[in-house]
Amino acid sequence: MSALRDLYQQVILDHNRNPKNFRVMQDATRSIEGYNPLCGDHYTVYVRMEGDVIADVSFTGAGCAISKASASVMSSVLKGKTLAEAEGMFQDFHGLVTGVPSSEDGMERLGKLAAFAGVSEFPARVKCASLPWHTLHAVLDGKSRPITTE
């Protein structure tokens, strides 16, 4: 039960119910689709870049509570970050949900992303949490073809 409460933390439940930045971005400079063919989670992540800075992030799509909350939290923490900062957060987040936290500094930088720490206890759900991040990573890499978790 406590592992389950760690997974479904209040922050995650709130973001699932009322996701932030859940909209199509008309003036996006880049966007890409990401999906998990095993469970049908499917999102589009939009980004508006201003030089090296992520000026805006939004997403649309559907999936489980973990993936939707992950996309929502991701979109709110990345606004105003540089590409290098975003890359660092991607690595930190990946370490967090796979149970190999990068460094203490990294854990501090995570801020409210730390709510996803409980995911590491549920190996089957790691892909749910990381799908939005992998999708964003592909956007920032300039990829245009949809990405999948498999």
Binding site: M1, A3, L4, L7, Y8, Q10, L13, N16, R17, L38, C39, G40, D41, H42, A62, G63, C64, A65, I66, F122, A124, R125, C128
Partner: protein, 435 residues
């Protein structure tokens, strides 16, 4: 714990008494006997996440009774040897045991001949064999292969690949909102271009039991052969391939209380004889020179290489087990579980059952408004309940019903109403956890 074993031949006696009370008592007695079989399955005694395991993922794979586990161990401890090769004692013993399983399968399916029973890795390989071997020779440009809208990916993709290769067309029989085949549409799709019909006997995602005997007859009226995917049928009902009159029937041992990695393709001699080999190598040949190879007779023509001997022997033990228990009582009992669970989930707010066919196996696929099946699966797992969540390798079925995925509880005779109560209580908790 009960130690009763259900013996066959009891089903139907109650009807003859013409006495409702007596019939009711008979049914209770038979159900009691079915419940007694649970202890044959050692894994069901374990706990998961600190709770007694509730195993409701039987459509994915069934648990194994002790006799199957013992037979497999005994083979490796006492008889392990390669078959069809040696003159030595062990090889002869192993060959005898393995070939004995072929006879068991023949009787299980009521096939006319042993040679019509081909051992494969499972349902998927069985379908691939037919698609490659029969398909490549029978299907040409402009021809059609007919499947239904409720097929598992394993009964879609091999045909799709064949059609792409040959310039043929994959046609799909539509299903209604209950998840039943539209027979009138099916009739219209049977044409001179149709070279084979490939159908699920029972749908893994919806539980629908298809009217396959009627559908085989309809196809045969046009001279079209029919393959039936029996993966979900064989563990739950008596299958008689001659009564169904199908041309091919495939199933996996692991869904019928046997080991993984072994299964059966049944085919009528007339078609198998004409078909070229699927894989080639040892055991499928009579003689080999660098100029020419003469293929072996049926069934060995389709069995290249050393097979899964241990698995095959485990499958034989599973068939013995099924023969000892009364399949008719089991089917009735599973239906009772399905009805009980169906009534129970009706009280869960926002829950919708996907697949409400009038003829249905013990599969309960469902969605809950605003909650993704993955979250349902995780929360149930925390209570020790194993269900399947996702698209069940049947994405077109999900698309037909407009859902990305479903949660699926699938029952076997060793499940109980008490377990369904645990499952229902956990479903009530899902919304509580997700707030």
């Amino acid at each position: 714990m009960h130690t009763t074993t259900v013996h066959s031949g009891k089903a139907g006696t109650s009807a003859m008494t013409g006495n409702a009370d007596q019939a009711g008592r008979d049914l209770l007695e038979r159900f009691e006997a079915v419940r007694g079989c649970r202890h044959h399955f050692p894994l069901l005694r374990r706990r998961v996440n600190g709770k007694p395991l509730v195993y409701f993922d039987n459509a994915a794979t069934s648990q194994k009774p002790q006799v199957v586990i013992d037979a497999t161990i005994r083979y490796y401890e006492e008889e392990n040897s390669n078959i069809h090769r040696g003159v030595h004692y062990l090889s002869e013993r192993a060959t005898q045991a393995y070939e004995g399983v072929r006879v068991k399968v023949q009787h299980l399916l009521n096939a006319a001949h042993q040679r019509e029973i081909i051992f494969v890795r499972g349902t998927t390989e069985g379908i691939n064999l037919v698609a490659h071997s029969f398909g490549r020779t029978a299907v040409g440009a402009g021809d059609e292969v007919l499947i239904s809208a409720m097929e598992h990916h394993s009964n879609i993709v091999p045909w799709q690949i064949l059609c792409e290769e040959k310039g043929a067309k994959l046609c799909v029989i539509p299903i209604n909102d209950r998840g039943e085949i539209e027979l009138a549409e099916y009739e219209k799709l049977l044409t001179s271009r149709t070279k084979i019909v490939a159908l699920a006997h029972v749908s893994n995602a919806l539980g629908t039991i298809n009217p396959v005997k009627t559908m085989v007859a309809m196809a045969h009226a046009h001279g079209i052969p029919v393959l039936l995917d029996g993966a979900q049928a064989v563990p739950h009902m008596k299958v008689d391939v001659r009564d169904l009159d199908c041309d091919f029937y495939v199933f996996s041992a692991h869904k019928m209380f046997g080991p993984t990695g072994v299964g059966v393709l049944y085919g009528v001699t007339k078609l198998l004889d004409q078909m070229p080999p699927y894989q080639s190598g040892g055991d499928m040949i009579k003689s080999v020179t660098f100029e020419k190879t003469i293929y072996n007779d049926l069934p060995y023509k389709f069995e290249a290489g050393t097979p899964n001997i241990g698995g095959g022997i485990g499958m034989g033990a599973a068939i013995d087990y099924i023969n000892e228990i009364d399949l008719a009582s089991l089917a009735e009992f599973e239906h009772e579980l399905l009805v009980y669970a169906t009534q129970g989930v009706a009280e869960i707010p926002g829950l919708r059952i996907i697949g409400t066919a009038r003829e249905k196996a013990a599969v309960l696929s469902f969605v809950i408004d605003g909650i993704h099946p993955h979250d349902i699966g995780t929360i149930l797992d925390d209570e020790g309940i194993a269900i399947r969540t996702g698209h069940h390798c049947a994405q077109p079925v999900m698309q037909r019903f407009g859902v990305p995925a479903t949660a699926r509880a699938s029952f076997a005779f060793y499940n109980t109403k008490e377990e369904i109560d645990v499952f229902l209580a956990a479903l009530h908790r899902v919304r509580e956890v997700l707030g």
